[in-house]
Structures are given as C-alpha cells and as structure tokens.
Amino acid sequence: MNLRILRKKIKSIANVKKITRAMQLVSAVKMKKAQQEAIETIPYRTFLEKIILKSMSQVDKAHSPLLSSKTNNNKYLYIVISSNKGLCGFFNFSIFKFINNQIDLKNSEFIVLGKKAANFISKIGGKIIADFSTINFNNAVSPIFTESLKKFLIGDYEMVFLIYNHFISATKFETIKTQLLPTTISYIKKVETKEKINEYLIEPDPKTVIDEVLKNLIEEKIRGAIIESQAAEHSARMLAMKNATDNAGEIIYNLTLLRNKVRQEKITNELLDMVSAKISVESN
C-alpha cells in the first residue's frame, strides 16, 4: 500500500469520526429532552385511566360507541410511527420486521408517521390511507385521532392499532402493538382491583362524560406513543453513532499501525539501496 493513500485514508476517517461523535452528542441531548417529555406526560394518562375506571362502574358498554366494534369485517387499521431520518441503527428495521411478521397485508390499511415506514409499506404493497410524515409529529396527534376515529365510527374497520417503538431505557426499546379502538379497560382493572370503587356523582351525566373521557384517553395514547417513539429514535441514533465512533477509532488505530509499518519499510529499503550502492561502488 502507498504511504500517501494511507495518510489520506486516515485523515478522512478521522473526519468521519468527528461527525459521528457530534451526532452522538446531539442525539444524547435530544434523547434526554424527549425522555423528560415522555415522563411528564405519564401522570395525565394514569389519572385519566383511574377516573375512567372509577366512573366505569356506573356506565354501560352501550353508552359509548368507542367501547365496541361496529362491524366484524376483519379489517384493521394500523397507525405506524417510525422516523423521517435514517442513521438510527435498527430503530426502523425493528418496525419493518414487526409489520412483516405479524400483519396480514390483505385486510389491513395504514396511517403512517415517518418517511421510512411509508417507503417500506408501499414497497411491500400495503395500502396507506394517510401519511403525516411532513408535518411536525407533535402536531399530527389530532389529525390522526380524528381520522381514525371517524373511520372507526362509520364502520370501516373492526379495530384500530398503534405500532411504535416503546421506550424502555436509554439503551433499550421494543416494538409493540397496542389496541386503540375499541377501547378496552380490562388492563386497567388488573392493576387497580384493590382500590375500592365508591359511588360517584358524575356531572352532567355518565353518558356524556364517558364519551368525552375515552376520546381524550385515546388522543393521549397517540400523543404518548409519538413522544415515546421519538425518545426511542434518539436513543437508537445515539447508540448507532456511538458504535460508529468506536469503529472509526479502531480503523484509525489499525491504519496508523499499517502506516508506520509502511514508512519503516520504506526507510529500510532506502537504507538497503544506499548500502548496496556503496558496496558496489567500493568493489569497483
């Protein structure tokens, strides 16, 4: 290998390392912010669920159209949350794999958030009814909610699901599917069975209240999922960039070693040349 090419390579990889390192730091800051946001949205949702549970004892399933499916045509709507940008490890890939393995494309339609998922789904032949990738994700909550609720209420779909990367910790996330509509409350009951349910005075009346509260809960679920997915995206990107930085360091180390070897070889060769030239001159 040529010494000059080696030097050039080392330099360019050092530059790459600088960039990946900067991206890692930026993602770390963004992740902290998103994580903080994700944590701060939790109280609202938990209290909302508590209230629903408490008032549920006085409410019948028939009170709200959100509690049961209109049809059973086996058609499902999936709301898929991915990212617009790449370079975030297996963040998007994890979602693709999930869709590929678990979802039957024939009777499914999708609402997507994030260009990566939009590209993937259209490639495998899924039907996308709405794409909210181009607007700010946080502003997409209410259009997604309105759209999916409208379609559910007129009986286009039997069920509506959310697919997103659930943020577990700074280094861990998991792709999950949660049921949005019809709203189920059984999972809340499991947690709260110990709490005694008292008689509640509900104003103006349970029927109006429950509809309102359930809608709010669904909207908050979408919002929570988007925020969590963002936190997961940043953490995935941070990890990917950290790995890239580490790998660049390793490559630089190996190349430097090689460069030194090549340089020494060159010097040795020059010395050999000189010595042999001297010998040949002297022997004459």
């Binding site: 949205t41 209290f47 909302l48 209230i51 008292n198 008689e199 103006p204 209240v209 908050e220 919002r223």
Partner: protein, 135 residues
C-alpha cells in the same frame, strides 16, 4: 386540607395542599372544600381559583375534568397557565389577531378556530384583571 393536583398533557402544573378550589364546571361554577362528596365533572374553559392559607392563586385553563374524593382534587385540563405566566401584551396581540382572523374567515372551520382563539385570550385577560384587583 385538600391535596390539589393540576395536570395537563404536558406536565404537572401545580401540586399543593390547599383550603378550597373553585372551578368552572359544565353546569356552573363549583367550589370544592375538604370532605366534599365524591364527584367527577366536566370543566369548561375558564379560571380556577385556589385558596391556601391567606393566599389566592389563579389559573387560566382549557376544557377538562375535575375529580375529587374529599381528600384529593385532581384537575385534568388541556392547558393551564398560572397568573405569573401570562403576558398582557401577548394577550392583547392574540385578541387582535383573532378579531382579524374572524373578519377574514370564509368558511365555518376557520371561523370556529378564530372564535376559540379569542375565547382563550379573553379568559387570560380576565385572569389578569383579577390579579390586578387583588394588588
């Protein structure tokens, strides 16, 4: 004493032990005192008044819910601003902006948006006037 929590989707805005809370419920204003019977009610946009000791605190809120069991009051609202977070200049700007939008609005949807924007701004300005009268 009542333990009051005011929570918005973004964060917990206020958490404190208080003497009484006055909220704009769907059927009119109600004041919640300690040992209130169990209640769950819808809230309209308006102003929350919180009394604790000799102090009074005001919050301008969006629509939401209130829940109490006599010991604890939980208020879930779409937005809540304390009296110190509101800027008079910004509110006046918002009112003007809303009026302008209202005069230009062509369809029902944008008209509704302008009206709700105006309503929010007016609530905020009411809160501001209240604060001034106390001082």
């Amino acid at each position: 004493m009542l333990h009051l929590k005011i929570i918005t989707p973004k964060k917990v805005v206020f958490e404190k032990d208080v003497n009484s809370v006055t909220v704009p419920a769907a059927d009119g204003e109600i004041t919640i005192l300690p040992r209130h019977s169990n209640l769950f009610s819808l809230l309209k946009e308006g102003i929350i008044k919180v009394k604790s000791g000799g102090d009074e605190d005001y919050f301008s809120i969006g629509a939401g819910y209130v829940e109490t069991d006599g010991k604890e009051v939980i208020i879930l609202v779409s937005r809540a601003y304390g009296q110190d977070e509101i800027d008079e200049k910004l509110i006046n700007e918002a009112i003007n902006e809303a009026q302008k939008l209202l005069s230009q609005a062509s369809d029902e949807k944008s008209r509704q948006a302008a009206i709700s924007m105006m309503r929010r701004a007016i609530i905020d300005s009411k809160l501001l006037k209240k604060r001034k009268s106390i001082r």
